[in-house]
């Protein structure tokens, strides 16, 4: 039987503000435990929370970028539950009137586009952090630095039909949040978290099946893997005629499987009621319009522009625009270098792998775009070959020197002098009679071996195009 997968995602992302949502404590990541706490975020009696204006602006900006309607009357509610990471025993959140609702974002699945509905976007405060590994095995330790960090909750409609689409939704959403400059979206630091609801149904059915909720995924790949595992698990149950239980499951990254949570912990009855300590907020249409008119170019628009302006494919365009800084870098380079496809290849290939190796982000890269385009021009002119150009690029990033300087210092200029190349080529032909014979007998690939030998003897400096020509000519005339 064939099944359809139905997925909805709930994303929590920390907004990048200097101070917390309802008090002036710093939000700086990595501070020593319980150094960024005050009576407000610790929930001591008699304190009064006051909303950080920037969090509301960030929230509205995000909601507008996700095509949401903005609620004219905004209020906060208390969500009540007991857990040691929550000092007040309630979380200030938004319940029946979220600040925005009914939006969508568009994902590009290969050549197809698909709209994913956004149910709601609302503001709330983060909880503290529990540490379970300490001196005392019977205790947990609480750090309240994270309590009160502004969070944006973004809930999607159950519009995704595969784990792959869920992955695309997350990367698209992340790109939007980064372009808006409202969040770092660093899953490793926990500044972006994602829970998933997933169910399956017979193809053609319109009624939703029983869903399970997946938690504890700490990367986008983890989300995809957890969903893939869950699809298989649910189908297996259905095929055996067993019932799928509605429950919360935790993703075990090490074992690559979902495990059941104790039911006790999911029995929630949050008893929401309006937060009496915060006054309501009413946004004027002009304020909303100002934010709307100042939205930056978003990834989707940028992709279309990259495809038309630089004649790039969807694939290339998507990779470049997925990271705002990578796209900025590309665009800066494109001002002085017009071989756009080649530029895109270099940025996606050599430059990106160098960044990965060094574990640095594009935004922290010390290489000026103009220096990269100078290097590419030198390579295009044939002064150095591509292989050498790659090592020069590595050196440039490492030392901060210009391409010219490195080529001069290391004597890397390509040998394009035919008499010098002929001498090396002749030696290689003499020393390798078998490959030469193979080539003569129609084994075209043999020439690549000979070419490799020439490159080796020239220490990688030979002009490859000339070498091939000389080799062919010399063998033919031999």
């Amino acid at each position: 039987m064939s099944y359809e997968t139905v997925i909805g995602l709930e994303v929590h992302t920390q907004l990048n503000t200097k101070s917390k949502i309802f008090c002036g404590c710093s939000t700086e990541f990595g501070a020593s435990a319980n150094t960024q706490v005050c009576p407000v975020c610790l929930g001591l009696p008699g304190v009064l929370p006051v909303l950080n204006h920037k969090t509301l602006k960030h929230a509205v900006k995000t909601a507008l970028a996700l095509n949401c309607s903005i609620e004219s009357f905004i209020k906060f509610d208390r969500k009540n539950y007991f857990y040691p990471d929550l000092p007040k025993n309630f979380q200030i959140s938004q319940y029946d009137r979220p600040l925005s609702y009914k939006g969508h974002l568009t994902i590009k699945d290969k050549d197809k586009t698909k709209k994913i509905g956004i149910t709601r976007v609302h503001l709330e405060e983060d909880a503290g952090k529990l540490i379970h590994e300490g001196d005392d095995a019977a205790s947990s330790y609480v750090d309240f630095n994270r309590t009160g960090i502004p969070l944006l909750e973004i809930v999607s409609e159950p519009d995704m039909r595969s784990p792959g689409q869920a992955y695309l939704y997350l990367t698209t959403l992340k790109a939007i949040l980064k372009y808006l400059d409202v969040s770092d979206c660093d899953m490793e630091k926990g500044s972006l978290r994602c829970d998933a609801n997933i169910s399956i149904r017979k193809k053609g059915d319109t009624k939703l099946g029983t869903k399970t909720e997946l938690k504890n995924m700490n990367s986008f790949k983890g989300v995809k893997a957890a969903l893939e595992f869950e699809v298989k698990r649910q189908i297996k149950l259905k095929e055996k005629g067993e019932k799928i239980m509605q429950q919360t499951l935790l993703w075990d990254e090490k074992k690559q499987k979902t495990v059941s949570m104790r039911t006790k912990e999911e029995a929630h009855d949050y008893r929401y009621f309006p937060e009496p300590d915060l006054v309501p907020f009413v946004l004027k249409q002009e304020e909303i319009d100002t934010i709307k008119n100042n939205l930056p170019e978003l990834p989707e628009a940028r992709l279309s522009r990259f495809m038309s302006e630089f004649k790039l494919s969807v694939y290339d365009g998507n990779i470049l625009i997925s990271d705002k800084y990578l796209a900025d870098f590309f665009e800066e380079c494109a001002k002085t270098y017009k071989q756009y496809k080649n530029l895109s290849n270099w940025i996606q290939g050599a430059l990106s792998s160098e960044l990965n190796n060094r574990k640095i982000q594009v935004k922290d890269l010390k290489l000026a775009p103009l220096e990269l385009t100078k290097l590419l021009k030198i390579a295009d002119e044939g002064k150095i070959n591509n292989l050498t150009a790659k090592t020069v690029l590595t050196d440039m990033i490492h030392t901060g020197k210009s391409a010219d300087t490195i080529i001069k210092e290391k004597n890397l200029a390509q040998i394009s002098d035919s008499s010098a190349l002929e001498e090396i080529t002749d030696n290689v032909i003499k020393d390798n009679p078998k490959p030469v014979g193979d080539y003569k007998n129609g084994k075209e690939n043999a020439i690549m071996f000979l070419m490799g030998q020439v490159m080796k003897q020239s220490k990688g400096k030979a002009n490859p195009k000339m070498v091939i020509e000389i080799l062919k000519e010399r063998i033919k005339n031999a």
């Binding site: 200097k18 706490v37 609480v142 309006p274």
Partner: protein
């Protein structure tokens, strides 16, 4: 609307209150009185009245995004029933 002893037990548990049988009897009656009173309130026509979320006629009270001084960790931990250096210590909450 009528409230059962089980409802009261459940509600008490949500608030982490442990009630004796006698207390359950008394509180069930009190809660029933409250609910009866709410039933009475329900008879008022409030179609034209917006739900009250706040009693004061003020709105849009913000603070700017500026960092102010936090408590010293030792002060933050002063009221903690159990602590360990920089941390609040609680009974283990994971299996």
């Amino acid at each position: 609307m009528s409230i059962s002893r089980e409802d009261v037990k459940y509600t008490a548990n949500l608030a982490r209150l442990e009630l004796k049988d006698k207390e359950l009897d008394i509180l069930s009656k009190h809660l029933q009185d409250i609910l009866d009173f709410i039933d009475k309130l329900k008879s008022v026509d409030i179609k034209e009245v917006a739900p009250t979320s706040h009693v004061l006629p003020i709105k849009n009270v913000y603070r700017e995004d500026e960092v102010s001084r936090s408590l010293k960790t030792s002060d933050a931990l002063k009221n903690a029933p159990s602590k360990d250096e920089r941390f609040f210590k609680v009974p283990k909450v994971i299996e």
